[in-house]
């Protein structure tokens, strides 16, 4: 069996708005291996499934050697939810407030699996137990507002896992949660992965969360992946100046208290990015050659898009 389960090549997704074309994802490459957790560090500009104003302009998303972009809507529906599932940042927006929680979990099962309603209910209760919801049988009939924030996030994960997907995309799963609950959810995700061998793409801006759960990390900036590395290497020796800036700007408990450095400047407008390196205007190490766009290159087993390493 091929180790790589998902391969994204030269992906470009643009959003057409009345202000101009927003180049949200602009030529992105990465791959995901079976059973691994890939952390995507980005400042909230990652969308894998485009909405109406958006369009995938170019690139390939290879899932087990099938290019998802060649599939019809009908075929894609069979993969979405069943093979590749997503959990979202804000469960209160995502869950239907007037529908029983159990029915919302069962919905995906009924849609993708050929089973009758009673069996689906039983399966739902099992999954709710699996994600750590106490007395799942009776909570099946509760509504989202009767759950706490952490429990709602567990429901989201239960929906995403209900059909045993090969890939789980978790979009900021712990961002609005308190630290103790965050810890519980991260533990849950790690445990589920050990038991179910799901591959996970974890989208987050929290470097602590990244360090905690990821095997490899892709750092995104302004629609581009600027660095991909093993999590140990990334934190020990970040290569891209943006990654270095990020790691220097966060306060670390236990470290010597010195003044935090900051990157300075703001994230560029994605409608009209400059022709050169996207990070060049904020980069402390910018050089003349940065006016041309650097490409992703492998250097000593590390992948980085920066002219410093050419």
């Amino acid at each position: 069996m091929d180790k790589t389960i998902l391969k994204v090549q030269e992906l470009k997704t643009h959003f057409f708005t009345s202000y101009g074309t927003v180049k949200a994802v602009d030529g992105v490459d990465f791959h995901l291996e079976r059973g691994e957790t890939l952390g995507l560090v980005s400042l909230s500009i990652m969308r894998l499934i485009p909405d109406p104003p958006g369009k995938i302009i170019a690139g390939k998303i290879l899932f087990d050697d099938t290019n998802l972009l060649d599939l019809t809507d009908e075929e894609m529906r069979k993969i979405r939810g069943a093979k590749i599932a997503m959990s979202f940042q804000d469960p209160m927006t995502y869950l239907n407030p007037v529908k029983k929680v159990g029915e919302q979990v069962a919905e995906a099962i009924l849609l993708h699996q050929d089973i009758i309603k009673e069996d689906a209910k039983e399966k739902t209760v099992n999954i709710m137990e699996l994600v750590g919801i106490p007395s799942a049988g009776s909570r099946y009939n509760d509504y989202p507002h009767q759950f706490s924030g952490g429990m709602r996030q567990r429901i989201m994960i239960a929906i995403a896992l209900s059909c045993n997907p090969d890939i789980l995309i978790a979009d900021e799963p712990t961002t609005n949660l308190d630290v103790l609950v965050q810890d519980q959810i991260l533990e849950l995700i790690k445990e589920l992965q050990r038991n179910l061998n799901t591959s996970i793409i974890m989208i987050t801006h929290d470097l602590g969360v990244v360090a905690e759960v990821s095997d490899r990390v892709a750092v995104m900036y302004a629609g581009k992946v600027v660095e991909i590395a093993d999590v140990m290497d990334l934190f020990k020796e970040p290569l891209h100046p943006y990654t270095q800036g990020l790691l220097n700007s966060i306060p670390i408990i236990g470290a010597e208290k010195k003044r935090l450095s900051s990157i300075g400047g703001v994230v560029p407008n994605l409608i009209d990015p400059m022709p050169g390196c996207v990070f060049e205007p904020r980069c402390p190490k910018a050089m003349e050659s940065c006016k041309t766009r650097p490409i992703m290159k492998e250097i000593n087993g590390r992948i980085v898009a920066c002219h410093l390493y050419e």
Binding site: S44, L180, V181, I252, S262
Partner: protein, 326 residues
């Protein structure tokens, strides 16, 4: 020297909203125990932080210190005076000395007002600026927060980034040159790369104007960076107060230990052994008897579900409320 701000046995209960049928179904009036008999002080020039999970009463405490809401019982002293005894006109002059910075820079600035009007409003309320010298004075204030350009004055909030908006919110708070500022989660709505700028700005302003902060946050790494002393809150109670370094090096209360233990460390080498804390924060309407943390505490003893532990002095300015230390 007297502390700048002092809270004594401060308590705030909010009545639970009654519906038309509650007289039939509820036996007695229910209250939310938002803040329940807490005492602490903040020294001149100090950054005192309150940490705790959502619903632990941090923001209510901040609002009580400013007398933005009236406590159910207890006292608040500002420069030695009990501000709860003051009449409205006396209170008004004290309000100049205390200001607040809000969490969400998108919601706390009026979208229809220009920056000059937002920042000059407190000055005008106290007749410290008129139409002629308003521009000058506002530029002066904005310079302190790194936005000192004539161009910014006539713009509206939507033309600024989140970090810049929070700078405007800070400018409004320091416009009156207050002594005391409640900073309620001032960086939690901001992107990682901007947080450090705002934290550094808050520290610079303290040094420049001799400010004293009550800093409210749930992000412990931020608290560790900015604080001199820290108070840990849980369901309306103060469980531990300590100087910042001791708290993070050697936490005393099991809840503090659990909080520190749960922070994801941005260093993959130190994926550590976990202290398992089950469940979530109990309801403040019907808080647990005895120690409020006993329902989740891994070191629970028999006394914990029966008697409420008092806050006891542990030396080095540290206090803890836990039966383990009596």
């Amino acid at each position: 020297m007297d502390p700048l701000v002092q809270a004594k046995n401060l308590t705030k209960y909010f009545p639970v909203e009654k519906g038309p049928l509650s007289g039939i179904f509820k036996k007695q009036d229910e209250v939310v125990h938002a803040v329940d008999d807490i005492s602490f002080h903040i020294d001149q020039g100090e950054v005192f932080s309150l940490v705790g999970e959502t619903g632990s009463g941090k923001t209510t405490t901040g609002r009580l210190l400013l007398r933005a809401i009236e406590p159910t019982s207890g006292e608040v002293f500002f420069e030695g005076r009990n501000i709860l005894d003051l009449y409205a006109n006396e209170m008004r002059s004290i309000r100049r000395e205390m200001q607040i910075i809000f969490q969400d820079p998108y919601a706390s600035l009026n979208p229809r007002m220009r920056i000059i009007d937002i920042v000059s409003e407190p000055l005008e309320v106290f007749s410290l600026a008129d139409r002629r010298d308003k521009r000058e004075k506002v530029i002066e204030v904005l310079k302190n927060v790194g936005l000192g350009s004539e161009d910014y004055l006539d713009r509206h909030p939507h033309e600024f980034s989140g970090g810049q908006r929070q700078r405007i919110g800070i400018a409004r708070a320091i416009a009156l040159k207050p002594k005391f500022i409640v900073a309620d989660e001032p960086v939690s709505a901001l992107d990682m790369s901007v947080r450090s700028e705002i934290l550094n700005l808050l520290i610079d302003l303290r040094d420049q104007f001799g400010l004293t902060y009550l800093f409210i946050a749930h992000d412990l790494s931020v608290v560790n960076y900015i604080s001199d002393r820290v108070g840990v809150m849980y369901v309306g109670k103060l469980l531990e107060t300590s100087n910042c370094d001791d708290l993070f090096n050697e936490p005393l209360h099991p809840y503090t230990k659990a909080l520190l233990n749960a922070i994801p460390v941005p260093d993959p080498v130190t994926r550590r052994e976990k202290l398992k804390i089950e469940g979530s924060i109990p309801s403040p309407i019907d808080p647990p008897k005895g120690c409020r943390f006993h329902t989740r505490c891994p070191f629970k003893k028999e006394a914990c579900s029966r008697d409420e532990p008092p806050l006891v002095y542990m030396g080095d300015g540290r206090f803890v409320a836990c039966h383990e230390y009596e």
